[in-house]
């Protein structure tokens, strides 16, 4: 064998290691669409929480049962929008890369993503029940960030730094608790859009 062959071997080895252990079809565009839905959701939540408030008490929120119900609806719609467009773009990308959408790599990614995510979700609901509304937005950022760091081993490596940024924003959000929603919009909206575009141009170019 000559050098060219060995060079090709090295490339094959690297490619096989990545393809067999990571979910590589994650689409950058799904990050962008998740970010857009997050911004819309945050805006709707802002309107619900801060409309009809007594502005003398700056940035303290009182929620009626009705507005809590509305918030849940907004949250559900945001999640549904982000998830469905995310699945759409990622399926499209996996077809382009001729990868199966549901295989060992996908399952491993989802399980590792789900463990911190479900923990954070349940904890947020429990805190919400006790009335700690302000903590929910930053906590979802923190647990989402932990989920990304945990899952980054099984998909595109960029998710790790995105996760660390989300965790940092979450901690800042706990400190400046009155700005929770704005920081949440930064984390789930802006960061998703920025990272999504970055990954789109890095991986999607033909």
């Amino acid at each position: 064998m000559d050098k060219q062959n060995y060079l090709e071997d090295l490339k094959d080895i690297k490619e096989m290691m990545n393809r067999s252990s990571r979910f590589i079809s994650l689409s950058g565009l799904s990050g962008v669409s998740a970010g857009i839905f997050a911004l819309l959701g945050a805006y709707a939540a802002y309107e619900i929480v801060y409309s009809n408030q007594n502005y003398l008490n700056y940035r303290s929120a009182y929620l009626s049962t009705e507005s809590i119900l509305n918030l849940f609806l907004v949250a559900a719609a945001t999640l549904l929008g982000a998830l469905s467009t995310g699945i759409y773009f990622t399926t499209r990308q996996s077809k382009k890369l001729k990868q199966k959408i549901w295989d060992l790599q996908t399952k491993r990614l989802l399980i590792n993503l789900a463990i911190p995510l479900v923990t954070g979700g349940v904890l947020s609901l429990l805190l919400l029940k006790e009335g700690y509304i302000g903590l929910v937005a930053p906590l979802t950022l923190i647990f989402y960030g932990l989920a990304l760091v945990n899952a980054s081993k099984y998909t595109l490596g960029e998710l790790r730094s995105l996760g660390i940024l989300e965790i940092t924003l979450g901690l800042i959000g706990v400190y400046f608790i009155g700005y929770g929603l704005i920081i949440w919009a930064l984390g789930f909206g802006l960061l998703h859009i920025v990272y999504g575009l970055m990954m789109h141009f890095k991986y999607q170019q033909p």
């Binding site: 080895i13 096989m16 290691m17």
Partner: protein, 96 residues
Amino acid sequence: MKEILKNLNKAFENKIRLGIMSALVVNEYLDFNSLKELLDVTDGNLASHLKSLESKNYITFRKEFLNRKSHTKYFASAEGKLAFAKHIKAIEQLLK
């Protein structure tokens, strides 16, 4: 130079065996069908390459039964991982 060539392993000079080892060293295990899909080869072709790696003790396998269907999990052995690492290192040195 001779030293480097000695570390190049004939067992990994075939594309499919190279692919099998690459996939197995970064995964805890892979089953037959996952390997087949990853490498895009026929059952018989894959089986014969697995057998050849097995005979060198580079991989091990475990048969399990899932819903009454046999399900074989393949692992890279410690010996196989070492040999594979040596092989990659030899290639890298050769390309220097």
